[in-house]
Symmetry: none
Subunit: 196 residues, 4 copies
DNA sequence: AATGAATGAGGTTTCATTCAT
DNA sequence: TATGAATGAAACCTCATTCAT
């Protein structure tokens, strides 16, 4: 598809993505977005209802896909713990495919309906980890510790997403990260049991 | 010091801190800051040159102190590796004492001259870690891995700072986090050497 | 005529009428009109020159008919005073038949060329009433009083038009109103002559 | 007070009143209001929160006074029917004193919180008239007729307010109008009883 | 030391209208 | 006939900043 064949709507989605990534939702300027797309501000409102609608139009589809992926991954992992490596790879493959959109949702969405997605996602992971921990360590968890570990692990993902890696590189790094995290986790359990 | 003795300047610094924490630098409103401080916007410009000057006035002193602390900590740790635990405790003690200011610099400073502080700080830590790694593991590091590990570790700190912990609780959590991170790090080295 | 046979032009006239009634000419939105009619804004400009042309197309024919009716009514009443009851009934029958269009012209036309129609109509009625008064009361009229009485009488019509009455109900109410107005008028003349 | 001593706030209130009277609340332009007052649009927001706040600042005080006046008038008239003439005179005196503000509330307030004031006021008068009617005519009222008569009477007030009369002239006209309305009302009752 | 007033630029959004197809 | 796209002006509003007093 040649340069001139990109529709204005696509141009707006592209320059919107760029602007949102650069400044975040609230500080993004529709004027800049439109002028980057080579149209007047009014034109934007032919394609989108408002600023948030533009943001959501960029982010909605990947997000829906991601929710599906998470759903099935958790299901699979509940049925068979051995799928966890494979699941993590699938997730990372997805995240790398939709790098920009992930960053938008997780770090640039303040002011939109997705602004609490990250927090909710973290809370969910904390719950999953707590359940896992209590099943295998057979002791009460320290919710503060769980929160820290989950936060660190997610940051690991974000570091990889922010890097300019190929998908294969990213997956390799993810595996190293898993190695790091798992060893840390085991040691923590050991120490906590010992301290008991 | 009685309530009425709080000078206008201090009131502005306080309400500024509050507002910047709540909305970030760019989305903070000087109007709100001033009305929270009980003065008009003009008054602010008697004490500060502009919005950024107010931000910096809140953050500058703690930042200078922190830079000193880091300097001496690194020096101490270079001289004697055994001081590392003690150093980390000192740092966390500092961070918890200046929780708000840390959050401002690390997460709310976009639009100010400190907006790249976090990135630079990370880069510095990456360098320190690389040096350490290369000295003890006697092999080339993977800079991408270092970046990830440093990012995760810093996120650990941030998680603790964001929690409403007492200093002693925070230090305890920091130690657990160190345990997690060190074990992970060791395992990573082992694996990398083995893969060699 | 089946549903699907309603031409686009008619759909536009209908949804235009609805919108103008709801928001008045100036605050009406061509977008809403077109979307209610199931076409795009461009289509409107095939049938009408502009917003005002749409308004006039809704209102022009009833207005022309009304002008005829008024003309002949006044003529008839000049020739034979006894036709006045019959004339008033004819007028009310007409107004009820074209309720929406009347309301558009009288109350929703600000911004169009008809915005002063009501004022002019009132002025005309004032003149007619003045002539009548001077012929039968044989004295100078008070133009201010005439203006007030005409305004009130017209408001009476508007109240009836705005009610959700059947034509027969409306005519009945009109007769009561005439009774009220005539008695008031007579008493006023009596009082003015007495005060003489 | 000399021309140059009029504060900007007063200038804004004046040009606002002018603009609202001319175009109604919704179609009034803050730009025009401000440029008529010789300031930029931003200046308006130093004195008023928004467009509606400007409108209300023009209208609030007279409205509060009017509500008091109505309250006491109804009370007085309930206690002693003979006060009605005096009450009506007081009301008209008030309306003429605050001509512009009355017109704003009654005819130009669409889009503000006062947009339904007229309707509510009418409904109240309909109730008062119904009660009065049923007490003196000893028969069920026709609510449609009451509505029409109240609407006409109010229109009478509006006609007077819109004229450029002095207060004394206005009061004189009001008395004539009362004569007209009372005679009409009596005749209507007579006719309705007869038709019984 | 602080107020009160005002600016001017920029924010998002809505609108009637135009025009190539 | 009608669409889909785009314009440009105007709408209300917020902002950091300035300045005379």
């Amino acid at each position: 598809m040649s340069e001139q064949d990109i529709s204005v709507k696509e141009k707006l989605l592209n320059s919107g993505k760029e602007e949102f990534l650069l400044h975040g939702f609230k500080n993004a300027s529709l004027r800049r977005i439109c002028s980057k797309a080579g149209v007047t501000t009014g034109a934007l409102y032919f394609f989108f209802n408002n600023k948030e609608d533009l943001f959501c139009s960029i982010v909605d589809k990947p997000l829906a896909l991601y929710r599906e992926l998470i759903q099935t991954s958790i299901q699979k992992e509940t049925d068979d713990l051995n799928t966890s490596v494979e699941n993590e790879e699938n997730i990372m493959r997805f995240l790398m495919t939709y790098r920009d959109e992930c960053i938008l949702i997780l770090e640039k969405s303040a002011g939109t309906k997705y602004e609490s997605f990250f927090t909710e996602y973290k809370a969910m992971l904390e719950k999953v980890n707590t359940d896992f921990f209590e099943r295998y360590a057979r002791r009460k968890t320290n919710p503060d510790l769980i929160k820290i570990i989950v936060g660190m692990r997610l940051q690991g993902y974000l570091e990889i997403i922010h890097g300019k890696y190929s998908i294969e590189e990213a997956i390799k790094l993810t595996k190293y990260m898993a190695c790091y995290a798992d060893a840390g986790f085991s040691e923590l359990i050991r120490k906590l049991n010992e301290g008991n």
